[in-house]
């Protein structure tokens, strides 16, 4: 039984990391090696040429093959970062306030608002996307980073609010009351006592939002046209189409694109799994 379990664990790890490792080895191979038949798994002459091409934005021959258009990749990574972090920050502000209001301040129709936000969770994003395109076009927000951030705030807030709302309800309410007695107005008690109390939940939700938004594809595909706001997910699919024979470049792009979410997932692993498992 022990042996079986060991084999299973090895398989799980291999299955989870395998494709990533494959991507890494591909990215440091030369194009010729990858395209040879039979193909080489472990690069005989590893090179960082693909990465240099992507990051330096140099135009020119790379790894013995196609010409790469430079500058765009770094721009796309920056776009992804700005959009993900911006959306996370804004969503957190919006959702923390809403979660507090729904969980602590008993006001008329709070039940209705809660139902509205949770109900939105069931709406699949694709039915919204087409109408959204027109709303964004009319507001001149197509192809802008801030437009994308606003959209993601709208799509991430319902889940974020719900997760934080459940946390607010389980937190002890006495520290907030003590703050009210100590001289705080409601909003001061919120900022100085309740929000610090929620800090672990906020961190977990922040991580989930950044991961989700970084990985978004359909919405940016439809709402961006130029490099102004194009995130790395959209750019990569263009590379797949453009550099069909240049595996190393595409693989390198993939590896670079997965580094930020991978780091985030590894660092905040416990918080994230806690929140996901708990909410199921």
């Amino acid at each position: 039984m022990r042996l079986l379990k060991l084999i299973a664990i090895v398989l799980i790890v291999a299955w989870s990391i395998g494709p990533i490792v494959l991507g890494i080895t591909t990215s440091i191979s030369t194009q010729r090696e990858v395209n040879s038949i039979p193909t080489h798994w472990v690069p005989q002459s590893p090179t960082l040429g693909a990465y240099r091409a992507l990051l330096n934005g140099s135009t020119g021959q790379v790894s013995g093959g196609t010409v790469v258009q430079g500058g765009d990749f770094v721009h796309a990574m920056t776009n992804s970062a700005v959009i993900a972090l911006g959306a996370a920050a804004l969503t957190l502000i919006v959702s923390t306030m809403a979660a507090y209001a729904l969980g602590r301040l008993r006001f008329r129709l709070s039940g209705g608002v809660l139902a509205l936000l949770i109900g939105t969770l069931v709406i699949p994003i694709f039915v919204v996307v087409i109408g959204l395109f027109q709303v964004m076009a009319n507001s001149h927000l197509i192809d802008t980073k801030r437009g994308l951030i606003l959209v993601f705030v709208a799509t991430q807030s319902p889940l974020a609010t719900w997760l934080l709302y459940t946390q607010v309800r389980e937190m002890p309410h006495e520290p907030e009351e003590a703050a009210l007695i100590d001289g705080c107005r409601r909003w001061q008690a919120f900022v100085r006592v309740v929000v610090p109390q929620m800090s672990s939940g906020i961190a977990a939700v922040a991580a989930i939002i950044v991961l989700s938004v970084w990985g978004e594809f359909l919405i940016p595909l439809l709402l961006t046209t130029t490099m102004n706001a194009k995130p790395v997910t959209v750019l990569i699919t263009e590379y797949v189409g453009k550099y069909t024979t240049n595996y190393p470049i595409v693989a390198a792009a993939g590896v670079l694109a997965l580094i930020p979410p991978a780091i985030l997932a590894l660092v905040l692993n416990k918080r994230i799994t806690g929140m996901l498992a708990g909410s199921s």
Binding site: E177, A178, L180, I181, P196
Partner: protein
């Protein structure tokens, strides 16, 4: 520092109809430590929270130092409160916990420092000022909660079962602490607890609540010796008073009380002091007898059956049923360790007839 807390006809009704507090009238005198006590759900915490401003008042008026505060938010009432589970600010140091209220009041920094240091010294917290709450023990956290309340130098102190979360030994220790601190601060204090021992040992006066209604307000001696109804009589005192349903019979010129085969003639002065007894002669009555009033020399003897005997070392606790009816009411008695009793055997114990309490069989009011 000296002032009053007044509740006048205060009522709290929750949406849905539940009346948690019904027409409560209470006044805490300057420097007084008044304990609000009663079983769970009696409305004592709700009453306290209304004084704090954490709960809306349905009708009535609350005054602190003769200033009407009924509709003011907590921050404008000049009060301080100690909570059951301390409610410390987990992300702040002990010093900042205590200084928080003063910072909100925009007190000058030097003054804040002075007050915090003074309160910390009074409570033995001076070495802990830079720690965070999670690094402290339960007793230490409770002291920080008290320190936070003291530094505000409020017009009134409120305490919501602050000792309930501590273990028994710590509780006894902290009881003394709280009284000591309160005497020094001398602000009127409203203290809520469900533990009647705390109430009796700490309170200048005690207010007993049941189902939102004030049963009796008086000093510990008053509520012990002259309970105004059966509820108060049973609530105060540990182990609880024995309450038995009995009949009042005529016994020559006087009266006797009979239950389950036992018969106890009453002393003449007891009867004359209670005119209500004569009215009820021949009818039912509720009799109360405290466990500590058994086994006194010179008392009236009754025959009992000893169902169980527990030895506490310093005394015996006996569970007795009247000899004539072994399935009758079980009475608890605290007896001297020297008493000769055997579990499962019949015995004869004395009852101090001057310490009998009488209550109306229907209303429970004292007779």
């Amino acid at each position: 520092m000296s002032g009053t807390i007044t509740l006048e006809s205060v009522t709290k009704q929750f949406p849905g109809g539940v009346v948690a507090v019904d027409d409560l009238n209470l006044e805490v005198e300057p420097g007084e430590f008044l304990v609000l006590v009663g079983p769970s759900g009696c409305g004592k915490t709700t009453a306290l929270r209304m004084v704090a401003g954490l709960e809306e008042v349905t009708s009535g008026q609350i005054r602190i130092n003769d200033r009407v505060v009924t509709r003011l938010p907590p921050r404008d009432r000049d009060i301080a409160m100690v909570f059951q589970n301390y409610a410390l600010y987990a992300h702040m140091t002990v010093r900042n916990n205590m200084a928080f209220g003063l910072k909100m009041a925009r007190m000058p920094r030097a003054e804040i420092r002075r007050r915090v240091d003074e309160a910390a010294a009074m409570l033995g917290l001076s070495d802990l000022l830079n720690r965070k709450p999670r690094q402290l023990s339960g007793g230490q956290r409770q002291r920080v909660a008290m320190g936070r309340a003291i530094v505000r130098e409020p017009a009134a102190f409120l305490m919501d079962e602050p000792l309930s979360n501590l273990d028994a030994k710590l509780r006894v220790e902290m009881r003394g602490e709280i009284i000591r601190v309160q005497r020094r601060i001398a602000a009127p204090t409203l203290y809520v607890t469900h533990d009647q021992t705390e109430a009796m040992t700490m309170g200048d006066r005690v207010a007993i609540l049941s189902d939102g209604v004030l049963q009796q307000l008086g000093t510990p001696e008053e509520v012990y010796d002259r309970p105004v109804n059966a509820f108060v009589a049973a609530f105060i005192g540990s182990p609880s008073m024995n309450l038995v349903d009995a009949t009042l019979e005529r016994d020559g010129d006087g009266l006797a009380v009979a239950f389950a085969g036992a018969r106890i003639p009453l002393a003449a002065d007891a009867t004359s002091a209670r005119p209500g007894l004569a009215e009820r002669a021949g009818g039912p009555v509720k009799v109360g007898l405290r466990p500590e009033d058994f086994g006194r020399p010179g008392g009236a003897p009754i025959d009992v059956h000893v169902t169980r005997l527990e030895s506490l070392g310093s005394e015996l606790v006996a569970y007795l049923t009247p000899a004539g009816a072994t399935d009758g009411p079980v009475m608890t008695a605290r007896l001297d360790r020297g008493e000769k009793l055997e579990q499962g055997e019949p015995a004869r114990v004395t009852v101090d007839v001057t310490r009998l309490y009488f209550f109306d069989a229907v209303t429970g009011d004292a007779v």
